[in-house]
Structures are given as C-alpha cells and as structure tokens.
Amino acid sequence: MTAAMAPRAQSRARPPELNIFLALVLITLVFELLNRWQGGSFLFNTRDNVPGLFNQARLQIIILQVSITGIIAIGVTQVIIIGGIDLSSGSIVGATAMISMSFAQVALVNGNPNPKAIFGPELMDLPVIVPILVGLACGIFAGLINGLLIAYTKIPPFIATLGMMVSARGVAKWWSNGNPISFPTDSFGALSNGDFLGWITFGALPGQGLNPVLLFIALAALFQLALTYTLYGKRCYAIGSNEEAARISGINVARHKVLVYAIAGSLAAFAALVLCSKNLTAQSGMGVMYELDAIAMAVIGGVSLSGGRGSIIGTVIGALIFGVIISGFTSIRLDAYYQEMVKGAIIVGAVVLDQWRQRRRALEG
C-alpha cells in the first residue's frame, strides 16, 4: 500500500475535517448572533420556566433531525469513497420501512382489531427482533443487487442504483397497495422512542427518544474506525483513488464493491427501522429525497465525488451543518421559501469549495 492510497488527511498539516468543523462553528455562531439580535438565543436557554444553561430541546433536535439521513450518509460515504454513487438509499428506506413494519404490528388497538393490519393475527405481536431482521435482510438484499450489477455487468453505478431507486419505490407502494402501515408493538416503538441512554446510565442521563442519535453516533464511530484502521478501509480508498492500480495490486475489486454496496443497503435499512419506529408508522412515500440529502451531507463533509477521499467524521459534521441550518432557519423565523434556496446554495457552495481544494492540491503537486 503506497502513501497515495492511504487517506490523505494524515499527510496534511490541517485535516480537511477541521475546515468543515470550523464552518459548522461559524454557521452556528451566525445563527446565535441573529437570534441575539432578535432578542432570543439559538443554543442557550432564555426561558425562566426551563432549567439549564443550554436550550436542551434545541440541542436534541439539531442532531435528532439528521440522525436518520445521517445513518444513510454513513453508507453513502463509503460508496462515494470507492468511486461509486448510491441513488437508491431513499427508496430502500421506503421499501424496508413498509416490509419490516408489517412484522411489527399489534393485533389489538384499544381493544379493537388493528385497522391497518397487513397479515393475520398469527404474524402480529411478534418479538421486536423479527422486524429488525426482516428489515436488515431487505436492505442487504437490495444492496447486494446494486453491488452485483455494478461489479459484474460493469454498468455505471448511477444507472444501477437509479434502477433500484425506481424499483424499490415500486415495492414500497405495491406492498400494501399504497396504504400506510401503523400501530406497531410497544417494543418496536421503543427502538427509537425508548430511553436506552437512561437505561445504560441507570437514569443519570435521561435520553427519552434519543436512540436514533445514539445509533447514528455508534454506527459512525464503527465505520470511521473500519475505514481508518482495517484492511476493509484501506481497500476502499485504494479502489476509489485508482481502481486499476488496486486491481493490479491484488485487490478483488468486484467482491469489495459488492460488500460496500451491501453495507450501504443495510445502513439504509437501519435508517428505515429507526424512521418508522420514531414516527410509529410506515408509508410508501417514506425516504423520498433522502438519498440526495445523504449525498449532500457527505459532499459538504468533504467526501470527494471523484472517489478516494473523505471520511465518516467529515460526513457527520456535514450532517450537523444540515441540522444546524434547519433548526437555525426556524429559530430566526426565516420564511420557508428562502430556506430551500439557501440550502441549495450551501450544497453547491460546498462542492465549489471541494473542487477548489482539489485544484489547489493538484497545483501543489
């Protein structure tokens, strides 16, 4: 493995993640100032009837609202690092949500039969592990198809995953003829809405409803370590930097690609489980546009669309920038019309910066 194949971050004086983090701090600061100007505060508590220095609700929602797309972005980041793209993750979320939710329903709602029942009573009130396993199986299956198509038919990832995006959305709609699937078991609802943080800390840190955040952070840490310290990670960067060189140096490129797409699929499935558990419903339209948000998070986080460069930490910071922007817009009462315009400008701005960074690096040699 040559130096060119290792993550470049280590060879630079200032890692790119630091730049992105500074951008995050700056954007947060701008919102704090704008809020102060309006007589409020973005991050700090200004109400007398709530205790604490910080606005707890704001801190939670900033990260909670990007946790689900963030989980998808972890997979998308790895796909982009190997030089691919995944447009199917949002649709995989939709299909997985519908299928796994139908294995998580309760038989009786307030003493009446479940009005949104998909299966008969024998497949209701199942232990929570069943919908989880079904969901992960769906995601891995879809990811495997993506990977096999890309690795062995040599069609561009854009096309292969575009096909999956359309087909998986079709599955999501077909599964229950477009009807939403609601009324999950309590244990399924607790996946997202439970208090895992409180449970592991014996109540010291209450975290009702923060499970999506915990899962996001845990998965991000896991894959950051995998990308940095394992052979799996080294191969990802090698393939993304120069696929031909990777092949010549003995890496089974096709097999590795299938693995990465399958991982991306399973992460989309994780996101789907968290999503429908959090909202206590599954809908065929769930996850629309999530793939683009996930790609945007990765790109803002410094993951290069030309492959070989980027990190999970960068993507997590990219996700946080998204979260700060969404909450910030609401806090300064910016009209919803301007919100999308500015969000779009930020995404494009990030890619322009990325290109500029790349050109500068090329000039420096």
């Binding site: 701008v30 939403p180 999503l275 930020i346």
Partner: protein, 314 residues
C-alpha cells in the same frame, strides 16, 4: 456561503417585528393549491392582528420532517403549533411531542387518527368530510337523472390512499349509491388513485380513455384531479357538455373551469376559513381558554347557478 446566510437572515429580520404570541405552523406541502389558500387564510388573519407572529414551515409531504419541524418549534418556545398533517395516521407522535412540552397543538384540515384521544390543549379544525363526498355525488346523480341517464357508467378518481379525506369521500360515493337517494344507478367502471394531483389525474384519465369504454361521469375526490381529467378529455377531443365531472374544494381554477362549462359540480370547502379557524383555536389555547376539540367549518355545494358567489371567496 456565509454571505448567503447573512443576507437571508437580514431579509427575515426586516420582516419580523416585536411579538407577543408566536405560532408555529407546519403545512403538509406548499405546492398544493388548496393548502395554499388555507395557509394564506391563516397568514392574512395573523397580519390583521398586532401581536401575532407566524412561522410557517413546509413539510414537503414527509412525515418525519414534519415531526422534526414540530420539535424545532418546541425548541424555539412557540406559544402554540398548528399542524396540517402530511399523513393522518402519523399524528400520535406529534401529539405526544407537543403534550410533553405542554404546548397547545391544533390540527387543521386533515383529521388525525387520534382525534378522539387528543389531550385537552389540542384541537382539530376542518370541515365534516362526510358532507363533501355526499353533496358532490348527489349533484352528479341529479344531473344524470336530468339528462335521463338512469343507468350511468362512472369513473372514480381517489386522492392519496393514506389520507382520511380520500377514503371518506370515496366511501360517500358508495354510500350514496347504496342508499337509493341517487335516482340513477351508478356503475363504477374503475376506481383509481391520482394522489390529489392534476398531473397524475391527466395521465390516469388518458389511460382510461385509451380503453374506449363509454362513460357518463367522472367523480373526483378533489378539484385538481377533476381538472386533470378535464384536460385529458379535452385533449382527446371529447365535448365536455356530454360528460359530467364532479370535484371537491371549489378552488379558483375549478370555478373558472365551471364558468367555462367544463366542470359541473364542486363542493366549497372554506379553506381560508379553516386556516383562520385553526389560528383562532391556537391563540385561544395559548391563552389558556377552552376550545371545542372538533371545530367544523361547513361545506357548500357549488353549481354553475351559484358559482359567481364563490369566485371571491377562495
């Protein structure tokens, strides 16, 4: 990037003033004619008050995004929240979030699945759905009988299947057929969803027309779909005088189509009134006053005879 943010922030600063009550509003989507009338009804009502500020967000038809928006409102410490639910079966989590923060919540236009178990400081403002589909279908029946078509063949266009109004209005059609109040025998050739959308309805109607099955009427769950059907029929060269088309909502576009003789029946749902009613309920709840948990704004039948009265209302 920073410049953009700054400029955008300035714009918003100039448009906001000192406020006493802040109401957060999450609309299912902005790009929907009817919901826009409702939203503007709310905005206009707020502009007429000196100390009320609205923060209106677009949930872009995404249930998860809507829940996040509600949590953002809670974090910003709004005095009350108005929600136009993306999906009526996903409202439990929203009610829970608002109840936990003890912030009043008002659902508008779409009946939440937990409407009967809402906490005391939550309410629902809309029109009684049973009336709309019934009024529409009975008028189509009356027109069919007047033309002497006692054995009529009809197409039914349904709204989003996940939506209570779509389910109810479609059920109303079947109820009228079964009740014997119709006067004519209605035979449904096909019943399909066009997701409330004009574009999808146009495609659906074109597909139906391509089967060359003769039909007498199209009953759509809303005006947008009725208009889509009309556009498709006109494109196929069908004389609109020979087909009866019914919609619901009485949007401006629909009323214009009615004056042109294309649309035969629609039902006026007072969108602006619902928006204003929801804001009223939210403000009352914010002040700790009691509010009926179900506030109904009445539906009215619109025909070419009385269409002029409604032109200025939506």
């Amino acid at each position: 990037m920073k410049k953009y943010l700054f400029a955008a922030g300035l714009v918003s600063l100039m448009s906001t003033t000192a406020m006493a009550e802040t109401i957060g509003v999450s609309m299912a989507r902005f790009d929907d004619n009817f919901l826009t009338v409702l939203r503007n009804g709310m905005v206009k009502q707020a502009e007429g008050m000196t100390d009320v500020t609205l923060q209106v967000e677009d949930a872009t038809d995404d249930v998860a995004k809507q829940l996040d928006q509600i949590n953002n409102f809670i974090a910003s410490g709004v005095d009350a929240i108005v929600v136009n639910p993306v999906d009526t079966s996903a409202t439990q989590a929203m009610s829970d979030a608002a109840a936990a923060a003890n912030i009043p919540l008002v659902y508008v236009n779409r009946q939440p699945i937990n409407v009967d178990t809402l906490p005391d400081n939550q309410a629902f403002v809309a029109s009684n759905e049973v009336d709309s589909g019934t009024l529409e279908t009975l008028e189509v029946c009356r027109l069919l009988v007047a033309e002497g078509k006692t054995d009529a063949h009809i197409y039914v266009m349904m709204g989003q299947l996940s939506n209570q109004a779509a389910v109810q209005r479609t059920a109303d059609i079947h109820d009228v057929m079964a009740s014997g109040n119709c006067g004519a025998t209605l035979n449904i050739i096909d019943e399909q969803t066009a997701n409330w959308s004009r574009d999808e309805a146009q495609n659906l109607m074109t597909n139906w027309l391509s089967t060359n099955t003769p039909f007498d009427a199209v009953i759509a769950n809303n005006d947008e779909m009725a208009l889509g059907a009309i556009q498709a029929m006109k494109a196929a060269g069908i004389d609109m005088a020979t087909v009866i088309v019914g919609g619901v909502d009485a949007t401006q576009d629909a009323l214009v189509a009615m004056q042109a003789g294309d649309l035969d029946a629609t039902v006026f749902q007072d969108a602006a009134g619902q928006g204003a009613g929801a804001l009223d309920a939210a403000l009352k709840l914010a002040k700790g006053e009691a509010v009926d948990q179900k506030v109904y704004i009445p539906f009215l039948l619109v025909t070419p005879d009385n269409v002029a009265e409604f032109l200025a209302r939506n």
